[in-house]
Symmetry: C2
Subunit: 322 residues, 2 copies
């Protein structure tokens, strides 16, 4: 019974929304809330908003319920320094002191990592990676994020910035990436990547497609998925190309980590089998013998409303390791 | 003083020689020996030889000196199963039961891993990676082996076969690799790889070079290094090409692990600066922002006679974690 009295606060800071939740050791959410991050406004506005939300959530705790720790997932968050470093799409500065800022509101043990790392811990504690010790989570959204787990622990690296698989190279001098490099994996294997691929295919192929009616801004991952399900050749080819590239790079990641599974999450993963089939076939083709037919490729079943579970798992794991 | 009374037995099984040594916790070698592995003969011949060598070494221990454990480094050794799996250049079968075989001779706690993983532990306990928690060792010999360390522990993977960076892909449909895949990193960045590169350059360029007098069998890494040091254009270009490819793939590995350092060892690393300069320049060019100028690239200073230190470190680490 004691377990049900103990909670951690999970905070997921996204480019659009910030989500908070009180989560117990079993992954049950006692209470949660969210607010508009306003990443384009000043950081002090965010600070005021989150202070209010934290205070609201704390008031939901009964007397016998105890808040033990805080876990935060945020873009480009550095596990070691507690700062968001050069977060793209945020106007909060180059080094955002998230840890200090939250600890001023609530003085509890606090652990922070990037959103994809937090997602990996969420899968391990409460999701599809339960019982796994070695696996990789890929978040296929606007960009491509990744969380790598070995021996049941996140790989965090010497500078707290490990797991940036979105920036392994696919083609030297390939597509321009936001990060300044060219040919990064996330310029191909992400929602933005597949939109670029559709435009490339339209430019190369001379066939009809409903996607030709859409501007780049209008073209969503959802619309490409729908077109593919309706048999549109361009959309199908786009998924095939995306899966082929991602699968070959997953084979390279396997040669590093020998994972039990890759777990895919984020907008692009909603496409399901149309994406999964070319990924698996390309990965198997490129896998070193020792790994062939041994690695599962799964699509996460955790609903996106549970974005706070990852950060909460981070907090629980950090409590357990101390 | 107690420490000096405690030893482990380190065994390095190579394609040519097998080396054994009694090693204390400080990395001091009390006694060592080696013998011809005879990888092309039957496994039972090896068993008889190593039984004799182990018995000889044990007789060197004083009464108050105690042997605590065994560590083995061997090609394609599986950390989990204790077997060498499909070792190339060995005619001992597809699954060689090394652990069982050695434990029949000496019933002590035994840990086994592939030679490059053992080398990584040797560097961490007794070599250039002392004090490091996150780093990568690359052994550039006949092939390319690797040992990956995160949080001070070897990454071993779900099947005990992590760290096969020799088989990440450089070019789809590139050079044929022994493993059956095409374009693997070790077909470019290894002693064999640079020999292939020299032959490719000779076929493409129409200039004089002392290397043109040598057959593929005669062309050693040493001879390419010597030619490069004498200003031979083909040899210099071969090192540049090798370094460029290896450096770009090290940038991809950095995007996985955010390592403090890469430590290079094995025959090709003897070339020193001629190899190091193009590696560093290519790696930096391809590194994601978060890692630029933060990663050391070092050439191991451990003499090759100390091949038993890696396996010994494995034994010590395994004792400490139990």
């Amino acid at each position: 019974m004691k377990e049900e009295k103990e909670y951690v606060l999970g905070i997921d800071i996204g480019g659009t929304y910030t989500k908070l939740g009180l989560v117990n050791r079993n992954g049950d959410i006692l209470a949660n809330s969210f607010f508009d991050t306003q990443a384009q406004s000043s950081f002090s506005i965010f600070q005021k908003k989150i202070e209010k939300e934290i205070s609201n959530l704390k008031s939901k705790l009964q007397k016998e319920q105890q808040l033990l720790a805080i876990g935060i997932g945020a873009p480009n968050a550095n596990f070691n320094t507690g700062k968001m470093e050069h977060p793209p799409n945020f106007k909060w500065g180059d080094y955002v002191p998230i840890t200090d800022s939250i600890n001023r509101i609530l003085d509890l043990p606090l652990t922070i990592t990037n959103d994809a790392n937090a997602a990996a811990l969420g899968e391990m504690h409460f999701g599809m990676a339960k019982g796994m010790k070695d696996f990789v989570v890929l978040t296929l959204g606007t960009g491509l994020g990744s969380g790598l787990v070995s021996h049941g622990a996140l790989i965090t690296g010497a500078n707290g910035m490990a797991g940036e698989l979105g920036h392994v190279n696919v083609f030297p001098n390939g597509r321009q990436c936001n990060c300044g490099l060219k040919g990064c994996l996330e310029t191909y294997a992400s929602v933005t990547g597949i939109r670029r691929t559709v435009f490339e295919l339209i430019s190369e192929m001379n066939i009809e497609s409903p996607l030709k009616k859409l501007s780049f801004k209008e073209l969503s991952g959802q619309k490409i998925s729908e077109a593919a399900l309706n048999g549109d050749v361009i959309a199908l080819k786009a998924f095939e190309y995306t899966g082929k590239i991602l699968g070959s790079k997953m084979a390279d990641t396997a040669a590093h980590l020998d994972p039990e599974a890759f777990i895919l999450t984020g907008g692009l993963s909603n496409a399901g089998k149309i994406l999964l089939d070319p990924i698996i076939s390309s990965m198997e083709e490129n896998l070193f013998n020792a790994y062939k037919k041994k690695i599962k490729v799964l699509i996460s079943s955790s609903p996106s409303s549970n974005a706070v579970l990852g950060p909460a798992a981070l907090a629980w794991q950090s409590l357990d390791s101390n």
